[in-house]
């Protein structure tokens, strides 16, 4: 039986009076890759940012309803704790430019004022970089700046930074849109590995990527969750005409 890790209950998000996510109810199973797709402005990124309480960081942004992590309301938790448990990786790789690869990986601890013994830091760095398949490539240049790496490596470094905090869920907002096809394919392969330990929720405009990497797909349109089903089903026989029109490119 699949256990649910993230659940949204009647979740609504607003920017001022603009109602951008409308009554979304979704259950996300543990150790799965979930793709979230939909046209620009459909509310998918806002929903993603609602999951780890980043939505509330935007001025004038409000939300109603619940996001549950392991059946607990994230609004009742400390936002920092929520963001440790639910890490996020963004569209463009954003390693800290002045920090070394090593310090980038453990930046989450430093920023939160956690002091760790050197041996433990070494272990976290090696484990995190190994998990994102970057260790072999950078183990001899850990003290070099993260920005010396290629785009794909930088994105994996950012994933390692999130992984270092031992999250349960990783959110990705268009994680490969700034990468070339080879780096994209490396990151996609990584998703398959990462789901053994984490639950991945990926917003993507690239439908073929959604089809390749995800177990389940959610389709958003005008703030509503139109359809949420097994990815195989969504791409062979979607139930809703709006989904079919979107994935076949017949959207007007």
């Amino acid at each position: 039986m699949e256990s649910t890790i993230v659940k949204s209950v009647d979740y609504n998000a607003y920017f001022g009076d603009n109602h951008v996510v409308k009554n979304v109810n979704i259950e996300i199973p543990r150790n799965h890759v979930i793709a979230v797709m939909g046209p620009s402005g459909c509310g998918k990124t806002t929903f993603l940012r609602g999951i780890n309480r980043m939505h509330e960081l935007i001025p004038n942004a409000t939300a109603k309803g619940q996001i549950l992590l392991n059946n607990e309301d994230v609004m009742q938790m400390h936002p920092i704790f929520v963001r440790l448990k639910i890490g996020m990786v963004f569209q463009r790789p954003n390693p800290f430019p002045n920090l070394s690869i090593y310090d980038n990986v453990i930046a989450g601890y430093k920023l939160n004022g956690v002091k760790l013994p050197k041996a433990e830091k070494d272990q976290i760095v090696e484990e995190s970089l190994t998990r994102v398949a970057l260790w072999k490539e950078v183990k001899d240049s850990l003290m070099k700046k993260g920005t010396f790496l290629s785009g794909g490596q930088q994105q994996r470094l950012c994933i390692a930074r999130a992984v270092a905090m031992q999250p349960e869920v990783l959110l990705f907002d268009e994680p490969t849109s700034a990468l070339d096809p080879i780096s994209t394919s490396t990151v996609e392969e990584l998703f398959h590995e990462l789901k053994k330990n984490y639950t991945l929720i990926i917003v993507t405009h690239n439908m073929q990527q959604a089809a390749r990497v995800s177990d389940k797909t959610a389709f958003f349109y005008m703030g509503e969750l139109v359809e949420y089903d097994e990815t195989k089903k969504m791409f062979t026989n979607p139930k809703d005409n709006r989904t079919q029109n979107y994935i076949t490119g017949r959207f007007s």
Binding site: A211, F235, T236, P238, T248, R250
Partner: protein, 220 residues
């Protein structure tokens, strides 16, 4: 219209043209046999190359659509269905050619008596009729018509099952017609296969339109 829609419309036209060609081959094979028209039979054998050419072209077009346009949902089901329909149509083309080759190899016209006794003429009509129904179902996206093919195919199956007995009875009275009887038996077997191919095609039409898989299910 999106590029994938345009390509799918073109593919649909190509498949319909192939269907027409195969239907015409089957009708000509029938007429060449009933009228003992060896010229017509020769034409069928020659035109088989066009059927093969059409099959290859459709295969290649499907391959290109997969490679270049990554079809999904109804588009994906359409291209998958076309690939299988294409191969079934090509086999019906082979059957028409096979019949035409029989006509070229026999010395005398088929006797009316044996044609009547074995229901082979009726079987021809029904096989052509079924093929036309599948074409209309495909063109008009009509799954009711596609389903009607399953019932009609039973008639062909029935004659095929009774064929040995019909031929045996006929030969008891006309042992001199053994050559003709054996040809007719082979034609009956071939026409029964046309029914099976048409049934397969109907299953693909339903799969494409309703996303239901009927293959290997006994009751439709």
């Amino acid at each position: 219209m999106t590029q994938v829609e345009t390509e799918i419309q073109l593919l649909k036209k190509e498949v319909i043209n192939m269907w027409d060609l195969v239907r015409s081959q089957l009708v000509k094979a029938k007429n060449s046999m009933l009228n003992f028209d060896k010229d017509l039979a020769r034409e069928v054998v020659l035109k088989e190359r066009r059927v093969n050419g059409a099959e290859l072209k459709i295969d290649r077009d499907c391959e290109n659509i997969f490679a270049l346009l990554s079809p999904v949902a109804v588009d994906l089901r359409f291209v998958l269905a076309v690939l299988k329909i294409n191969s079934n149509l090509e086999r019906i083309g082979d059957i028409a050619e096979g019949i035409a080759k029989y006509v070229l190899s026999v010395e005398t016209p088929f006797k009316k008596e044996i044609l009547d006794a074995t229901y082979v003429t009726k079987m021809y009509d029904e096989a052509i009729n079924i093929l036309e129904d599948t074409l209309a179902a495909f063109e008009n996206e009509d799954t009711i018509l596609a389903r009607s093919v399953f019932k009609k195919d039973e008639f062909l199956d029935d004659i095929n099952i009774r064929a040995n007995k019909l031929i045996e009875d006929y030969l008891k009275e006309h042992p001199e017609d053994i050559d003709q009887a054996l040809y007719i038996l082979s034609v009956i077997r071939k026409l029964e296969r046309v029914g099976d191919q048409s049934k397969n095609i109907s299953e693909e039409i339903i799969f494409y339109l309703e996303a239901k898989v009927l293959k290997h299910k006994h009751s439709h």
